[in-house]
């Protein structure tokens, strides 16, 4: 049954969902898209971010998004450390393709088990005043539980984009994916730049995790549900393109929302990944990727 209010609500819900997907994929867009590091553990870091938000929210009642932002420096340092191990163990010796992938698989399980041992396996949720509230704009309903993460995701994406575009380190990050030797000739250490980039990627997981646990309950292995989605978004958007990641995420969110509303929710993943395949069929480099 097609009605205008269903259509408008599907668009708005899809855009908000897509914004959330962008937040989840953003860190991977840097790490995988720009550094070519297949960090399959990225969703596990997001779940770790969710649990940090849960722990502090439960203890002190602080807003989960503020917690996510406050913990970004901690996650950044963890990311730098992880990259250091990855570089020393795999990248430096040229074994990053298979052994490096196995490293991140192992890291994913280590994070999961650590969360299980620390928090148990029960579903966890957070409390915030906007959870359960809805903004009504004409015929469109905007649940704040989705809207606040959407706005946060946009802000975070914008900040990362500007950082990469306008700062020396940011441009060095973009440069390291293009030509490491040239970057070295510019006086920047590729290894140090990649460590910073990886750290930024993991830092975004702190906020993405907070957004995830605002939207719904999480348990330690929940991140596995997002592995396919985040890689699909990064590839569809174009490797290394932050703007492309955002657009791809929005497209996926809207496609899912439309199918759920009008055709049957079980078709949503097929259509979403169908959009991915179609995009790659016409633009193999992704929407905004370079050939």
């Amino acid at each position: 049954m097609f009605t205008l209010d269903l259509f408008l609500n599907a668009v708005v819900a899809g855009v908000m969902l897509g914004g959330f997907y962008a937040a989840v994929a953003l860190g991977l867009s840097i790490v995988f898209g720009q550094l070519d590091i297949v960090n399959i553990a990225h969703p596990a870091f997001i779940i770790a971010g969710s649990y940090v938000a849960y722990m502090v929210n439960n203890a002190f009642g602080i807003d989960p998004i503020l917690i996510g932002v406050a913990f970004m420096p901690v996650f950044f340092l963890v990311g730098v450390a992880v990259y250091g191990i990855y570089y020393a163990g795999f990248e430096r010796t040229g074994r990053e393709s298979l052994a490096g992938l196995a490293f991140f698989f192992g890291l994913m399980f280590i994070i999961e088990v650590a969360l299980i041992l620390t928090f148990g396996v029960d579903y966890r949720l957070v409390d915030a005043p906007y959870i359960g509230e809805t903004l009504h704009v004409g015929v469109v309903d905007i649940p704040l539980r989705m809207f606040v993460p959407f706005v946060t995701a946009l802000v975070m994406t914008g900040v990362v984009y500007l950082y990469l575009a306008k700062t020396f380190t940011g441009r060095a990050i973009l440069a390291v994916s293009q030509d490491r030797l040239a970057l070295r000739l510019m006086g920047a250490s590729p290894v140090r730049i990649k460590a910073i980039a990886f750290g930024i990627g993991i830092a975004t997981a702190a906020v993405a995790g907070a957004l995830l646990i605002i939207i719904g309950p999480v348990e330690p292995s929940f991140g596995r549900l997002y592995i396919g989605r985040v890689f699909a978004i990064v590839i569809m958007g174009g490797m290394g393109s932050i703007g492309g990641t955002l657009i791809a995420a929005l497209m996926l969110g809207v496609a899912e929302s439309f199918v759920q509303t009008f055709y049957g929710p079980s078709w949503a993943p097929l259509v979403a990944f169908g959009v991915l395949l179609l995009t790659l069929a016409f633009r193999p480099q992704g929407l905004f990727g370079r050939l």
Binding site: T3, A13, D141, E219, S221, P265
Partner: protein, 421 residues
């Protein structure tokens, strides 16, 4: 050889009396020998169902301790041997192969949940094993295995009996509802639950205006709830797992979902963590359950069991109340243990025969199995959340919050109808 003296005879008689007394004393009669009876199973200790799986394991370990303190089974200690199936059905056959062929367990019981029980069935059937199972919906419908027993009190026709109460309540209302929306997760349990609801809807002549499934991992349910709302269905029956239940309940409140009755088969609304978090959003939902702290379900032993469970649960990071699965996890081992002791052996055929013929006294009340291994009489409850406040877990320890509204035999209150207009 000299004749024993009177003193010697007295000592011999005393020794004889002491030996007889010793042989019949409770401590000795029940002191288990060293060779344990091993009960093997897989359990969801990680993954989507781990919250309940771990809670079930605690209950089973309490039973293990209790039975060993009482002397074990057949005079032998009981040892639970288990592996994590990660809530992944594909892991289950391999785990049971290991349990049987490597660990050489004597008895097996199931993991928790339809999706983890069904994959074990071919192994059980091939090896002709008694299989006590824990909360699988209609698993035996197609297998028709005579040694399968299900502790979930769905009833002799599980898929239908599970949701019968929901429709019984609905059709008693005046005017009767006319339309229904059916929504299920793409998984075996949810589809079984909704299949049963569909059967009732067709039997009662309800017009099915929405009938869809959604994939696990759906992040936002607003589009789905809106699509359901657009059909203006009188009844909304949902079969799903915990994260989806939370998402749907939240979306229902955010979008002011209107219906005469809403709920049905949502797993997760029985969990303490979700009950506490969803709070007043639960009010009015009529959903399935199997035990609640209502006066009509105060069976002997259940409170004592829950005290032991709750003492261990919080430290283990699992459901602190334990009303949903743990009593039944304890009960399915009670049934198996009682059968072994009564039969006096581990013979699978004899055990199966005994379990079929017997009514067991358990912490979840009397349990009698029918021909297909399901409960001979359904005790699938429909409860309605009433007067729930936000952020108050302790309220769920009291009667009057998860009110049993069907079936009449176990009802502890009246339904508030409609859900929302």
């Amino acid at each position: 050889m000299s004749q024993p003296s009177n003193l010697g005879l007295g000592r011999m008689m005393l020794a004889g009396i002491m030996m007889i007394a010793f042989a019949f004393s409770p401590a000795t009669a029940q002191a288990p020998s060293d060779d344990p009876i091993k009960i093997g199973f897989s359990m969801a200790l990680t993954g989507g169902l781990a919250g309940n799986g771990k809670a079930a394991l605690i209950a089973m370990q309490i039973w293990e301790k209790d039975i060993n303190e009482a002397g074990g089974l057949l005079g032998r200690p009981v040892e639970l041997v288990y592996y994590d199936d990660h809530t992944n059905g594909a892991d289950v056959p391999g785990i049971y192969a290991k349990l049987l062929d490597v660990d050489k367990v004597d008895l097996v019981v199931s993991s928790y949940g339809t999706n983890l029980i069904a994959p074990a069935m071919p192994t059980m059937i091939r090896r002709k094993l008694v299989f006590m199972s824990l909360f699988g919906l209609a698993v035996n419908e197609r297998f028709n295995y005579e040694r399968y027993f299900q502790i979930m009190p769905a009833g002799p026709h599980p898929a239908e009996d599970w949701s019968r109460g929901f429709f019984d309540i609905a059709m008693k209302q005046d005017p009767q509802p006319q339309t229904i929306a059916l929504l299920a997760t793409d998984s075996e349990f949810s589809k079984n639950a909704v299949a049963g609801a569909r059967g009732h809807a067709e039997r009662l002549g309800l017009n099915i205006v929405y009938d869809n499934t959604f994939p696990p991992g759906t992040a936002d349910f607003s589009p789905i709830v809106r699509a359901v709302q657009a059909t203006n269905a009188d009844l909304i029956y949902v079969g799903c797992y915990p994260p989806e239940a939370a998402g749907i309940v939240r979306a229902a409140n955010e979008l002011d979902l209107k219906a005469k009755m809403f709920g049905g088969g949502m797993v997760g609304l029985q969990y303490a963590s979700l009950q506490e978090s969803l709070g007043s959003m639960l009010n009015g939902i009529v959903n399935y359950d199997f035990w609640a702290p209502e006066p009509t379900l105060d069976f002997p032993g259940v409170k004592e069991f829950l005290e032991k469970y709750q003492a261990e649960a919080e430290a283990a990071g699992v459901d602190p109340l334990g009303y949903y699965l743990p009593p039944f996890a304890y009960a399915y081992l009670q049934v198996l243990g009682d059968a072994v002791n009564a039969v006096g052996s581990l013979d699978q055929e004899a055990l199966a025969k005994y379990i079929h013929e017997t009514t067991f006294d358990t912490v979840v009340g009397p349990v009698k199995f029918g021909e297909n291994g399901e409960w001979a009489e359904s005790r699938a409850l429909q409860v309605q959340f009433q007067n729930i406040k936000d952020n108050d877990l302790d309220q769920f320890r009291e009667a009057g919050k998860t009110v049993i509204v069907a079936p009449e035999k176990w009802a502890s209150g009246e339904v508030i109808y409609p859900y929302r207009e």
